[in-house]
Amino acid sequence: MDDRATSLVAQRDALASGTCSSTELIDGAVDRHDQTNASLNAVLGLRAEAARAEAKESDVRRAAGELRSPIDGIPILLKDNMVQRDEPTTCSSRILEGYVSPYDSCVVEKLQAAGAIIMGRTNMDEFAMGSSTENSVHGAAHNPWDLERACGGSSGGSAASVAADITQAALGSDTGGSIRQPASFCGVTGIKPTYGRVSRWGLVAYASSLDQIGCFTHTAQDAAIVLQTIAGHDERDSTSIPDAVPDYSAALTGDIRGLKVGLPKECFETEGTDPEVQERVRAGIAELEAAGAEAVEVNLPHTKYGVAAYYLIATAEASSNLARFDGARYGHRASGVKDLKEMYERSRSEGFGAEVKRRIMLGTYVLSAGYFDAYYKKAQQVRTLLRQDFESAFAKCDVIATPTSPEVAFKLGEKTEDPISMYLSDVFTVSANLAGIPGVSVPCGTSANMPVGLQLLGRVLDEETLLRTADVFQQRTDHHTDRPGGIA
């Protein structure tokens, strides 16, 4: 594999030195896609022609010395839930068949303003509901490390695309772990910023108070660059944080001496976690200690309630957010409907997959009269307890380290019959969404030849410490340079 393909920084430098052009990068991405996607089903569609035209313009800008940003001319993929003007968005759902957005999401605007080239859209669990990218109307995505295994979800397509080097960067969204968990399953770096750090304008909503856009890259260094581009206040998003965006790349000082790494015993004593996974993660933490960090024990006593609280809140919000998909103004409408009620019921029943329907039903129930206090309100109170857990923990440490997932990528079809077992793979990731704090997953080894992820969680708006820590880890290890074998 060329050096050009190994990182975003390498691509940027190659463009800068004239070793290659943006057009060549785009061609490379298309070639790599053509080689691998039939097996992976990670990418739903490339806008190759448009990308080539944009690449040409980038090359012209470069020749004229008028670059828009350091990532001008670099190819990137979007998860299929971020709208782009005149492009289809399906959220991997039949109910959005044929939908073409008349407006751009904020992240698309920012990427285009930076000159990045959006190659197309990636496969996902329908409406971001899932942990395997098997709930997709376009078919499951396959893990590049083992085609019979799942990529994780819901941003599985984006994780796999970067793992397979179709592009060096891809955007995802994370509501309960949907960036971090697929990152760990696919052996790449995935970051979920602080809630409100990246605008949700144009992100098709799943659970409004939990959703956040982030990215997949091979390295923390690359993640810093992408995050720099997409983060920032947006007045169109009322939950957007007004604080200025720091220089994330400048935060990669390479020095974590004195950093306190919190180890919550609740995340290391759990019987559901694969022992080899635990071992890889502990080895990763040992690397951090060797670099000068200090491990301290912390408590996150309410960890085990996170999944339940998450499923109550997320499904409740989703049941309301998905009410707009009704066959009236866009998307799928059932044919031959005689009246309004039939239009709603048949369009929605035909348009939504089983998992989405299950979550809508649950969410509707949770909000319904008589159950609100017991379920929804209770879950919001548990959320407060989780926030308090983190506040106490961060009084004693600067980052918290856990396994990203209790296990490595499971086989396709293994968990689709039992929703609960699927939900439990989010046990280490959901708390961050409930508390709004940032988190990153970095590859830290393999188990049974499948990647293992080390998760780092940080204080609100402290992406800098997370990235710095991840970067130091990646300077001392080479797990992030591992690539899956031939994908045929």
Binding site: S319, L340, T364
Partner: protein, 107 residues
């Protein structure tokens, strides 16, 4: 610590029908049974929250505290009405067209 969730009750087919109607989903009989079973499983799992004493705890609606964001009252031009209906399954000129509302459902 008294449990604050209702005693574990099986989700009945009637409840499934009621919820499905609220959510405008139509389920055939097989679906109803499966859905009831799935919901039961999930609710049994989330019942674990009943163990927690949350009396006096303020619910968190927003993870990050923010001041009320507002927008100045300046009207932007409306979008092209034909663009507004460009994704419509059915339309009449620039209006969306949907099947008739049954008697008794008018608002």
């Amino acid at each position: 610590m008294r449990a604050s969730l209702p005693a574990m009750s099986r989700i009945t087919p009637e409840q499934v029908h009621y919820i499905a109607a609220l959510a405008r989903l139509s389920l055939d009989e097989g679906d109803v049974a499966r859905m009831a079973a799935d919901m039961d499983r999930i609710l049994e799992y989330v019942d674990s929250l009943a163990e927690l004493d949350t009396s006096g705890i303020t619910p968190t609606a927003h993870a990050i505290e923010l001041r009320t964001p507002v927008r100045d009252d300046i009207a932007a031009p409306g979008m092209d009405p034909y663009l507004a209906v460009s994704n419509a399954p059915e339309r009449v000129n620039s209006a969306f067209s949907v099947p008739k509302v049954l008697d008794g459902e008018e608002r």
